[in-house]
Symmetry: C2
Subunit: 506 residues, 2 copies
Amino acid sequence: MSEHTQVKMTEMNYDADRPAAENPVKIMDLSLRDGHQSLFATRGRTEDMIPVAELMDEVGFWAVETWGGATFDTMHRFLNEDPWERIRTLKRYFKKTPFSMLLRAQNLVGYRNYADDLAEAFVERAAENGMDIFRTFDALNDYRNFETVVKGIKKAGKHFQGCICYTMTEPRLGGDVYNLDYFINKAKDLESMGADSICIKDMAGLIAPYDAYNLIKALKENVKAPIHLHSHFTSGMSPMSHLKAIEAGVDIIDTCMTPYAYRTSHAAIEPLVMTLIGTNRDTGFNIRKLAEINEIFEKEIMPKYKHLLDDSKVSIIDINVLLHQTPGGMLSNLVNQLREMDALDKIGEVYKELPRVRRDLGQIPLVTPTSQIVGIQTVNNVLFDDENERYKMITGQVKDLCYGLYGKTAVPINADVQKKALKGYARGEEPITCRPAEVLEPELEKAKEEIGDLAKDIDDQVLYAIYPVTGKKFLKWKYGVETPPKEVLPRTMEDVKKDDELVKKA
Amino acid sequence: MSEHTQVKMTEMNYDADRPAAENPVKIMDLSLRDGHQSLFATRGRTEDMIPVAELMDEVGFWAVETWGGATFDTMHRFLNEDPWERIRTLKRYFKKTPFSMLLRAQNLVGYRNYADDLAEAFVERAAENGMDIFRTFDALNDYRNFETVVKGIKKAGKHFQGCICYTMTEPRLGGDVYNLDYFINKAKDLESMGADSICIKDMAGLIAPYDAYNLIKALKENVKAPIHLHSHFTSGMSPMSHLKAIEAGVDIIDTCMTPYAYRTSHAAIEPLVMTLIGTNRDTGFNIRKLAEINEIFEKEIMPKYKHLLDDSKVSIIDINVLLHQTPGGMLSNLVNQLREMDALDKIGEVYKELPRVRRDLGQIPLVTPTSQIVGIQTVNNVLFDDENERYKMITGQVKDLCYGLYGKTAVPINADVQKKALKGYARGEEPITCRPAEVLEPELEKAKEEIGDLAKDIDDQVLYAIYPVTGKKFLKWKYGVETPPKEVLPRTMEDVKKDDELVKKA
Ligand SMILES: [Co+2]
Ligand SMILES: [Co+2]
């Protein structure tokens, strides 16, 4: 580790308007999307973003992530909020800072592959409503699943950020599958698709500091597009990984404002700003301005969301990530599943079976939805298999995966498992090798017909097409056909006070 | 920053019994002292340390901090526990790992300078009861306050760790007072006093990563004793500062087990273990063993302490540290003080006055008790001064400081302030320049007489001498003269369940 030459000490200057550094680290703020998705069940409301929006616009962020991921779903389902309206509303306050969204490639903002016509319409509408940067990822890193949306992003003249999901088979970067070459090749693939920037998407907080250093260094040597690091705090390594990535020359880092930071979210921006002052990578941010924003968040916004924080443990990191190289939530889901089936004593077997199932299924990354696919099948194997037969109960999702519906796996799926899974499978016993969406029929026109007049414009129609059941319900609330239930109303400061008093009395 | 040559990649080996690294980073675990002092108001009970003690003894820590700081006070005052007994009890479970204590130099484990005879007796008894490493600090970094206790430590053949309190007058390392030379000179002073190791004691989490790098590098070049870094997480910088300190060649790092980590405590050990695997500084620790300990802590111990966590904010870092270079607790104390006086609108003036008062008082480090001394005088100045007169209300502690009772300040005290403070001061108007304890009369024999037969041995007598009021009360509980009140009884898992049910009903 003898060449940390990317960070050089310069002159110390603490002024808010100090001259710009030679090569400032660019920062994307995630508070308004991944922040509340990680800590508060994606329940952040637009009205609770407005009080800080103009101040945040002044910080100098490279971008703010405001949309996509689970927000589209939770907004219309649980918050009685029109997802499209959030972009337009926030755009009125953020006059300078570009918006970024998390796009699940062909899954858009849902949980299955949608047909190309719907994917095209979705991207067009997101761009039209004000989205600037489309951070695009696929759970299998199969970039054929990018093709349709990237065409749309490019057509709209917007920024295409291509993600490589960071995953491992060993405790650290390396091994036969997810080694340095894998990531370099993926980055080259993205560059040849026209990526305006490339993101290492470390959903689980797996990337260790020196691996981040080596990886970013290799990427900077092999591709020209700016490199962006997204690494959750979950394992506790990310502040160190951020710094080593910066020392390797990373261009952009993801952070959150302090109240939305740490735990399963991301490291905070403020310590990093202080760290880089006096170097050629100084962010140039004014810490006092950040403090002002935090104070508003803490005083006016956090009381409404605090009850959503997971306080089941005192620890704010999850070292299972370090032990099993799995996303934080995945193992607790498995534990809950076993508990429900009164089989918690099998947890040891589950830990052993999990890497075997993952290997059988082509060493796929463990990320939504693949972590669930591998997890549930693992539990099934432990509960139902015997010495004579493995994979006695194969889930529908595993069958879809074996058929090729999610895309190409990192290594080939175990041939026996695949054959067994596809025996009598409705779409056919022979797996496909084409781009998955090619086997899907167009679906937007049919959706338009179904929803009819309840949808007043194309945004309504796309919403319904992606989420037919909850989308329809939402449109009824939106247009006064039905009264929204109490559960979707915002929690007010009045509610907070009432609850606090009740607890105090207890 | 081009010479990060101290960390070299070696071979990856994930085995629990992998060969030792060339120069392993040594780790001191603070969970059982600073961990619960920082997070749970120092309320950790011996009975809640025993379930993990034998497992912790197997980890391979350089030492475990088990005693000193505020524990001596809280144990006898709030927990009805004999402080001396904790050392002896834990020693039966920790058979290999040395014990470390935090010793406030001539303040021992209290809040004032004690006379030399008492200091000698205290150190002798601590060593006799099982203490191995005496981490010694003085709020003013005036090492004349070390003289008596160091003599005792050396006489007992124990490890003398000398601390340099890390403090700043600028947002980062540097300026006229607390610059690199200051710390190098202090380290040389400690070495010439016979320090077996030297600790940078960053109580407030002020040290920034590249400052840690430069400081540790300079210390390694200038002194031979092992260098130890103690940096609280409070500002969010410490995980990065740890790593840069390691890259500069630091010998020992302080961490906590995960449930006692982060917030105003220290970064956790587990992410650091994973980070260093495959390098010449690998700790050699087995993460699975650490996970096992954490699970016991979370399941059996944390439920009893959780209610003591400060949950007034969602943020787990305090960026005031970055804005004002003051310990996290200091500013919230000031805010509370102003609120009680219905003068919260003066907080801006307090922020401005604070560095002026600190300068007047000799740019002393801000650490217990000097942070309180500076803080209260600042509030007094803001509330009572007018354009005609400054320092209208000088506190008794400021008078003592001006007299020289705490020791020598970093720069001379403002002569006018000093003169005003000492006008009519009982001990005399002329400040002393000698070692502060030299003006103190011996006090142990007098204390022995006072407490008489209620003290059964020298440990009881020393306890009483340090804490006469609460010490006497404790001895009455200890020997059945009085019944301890309900408040000092331990919180049981039964209590936890009852409280949880009440809150659920609310
Ligand atoms: Co994320
Ligand atoms: Co401490």
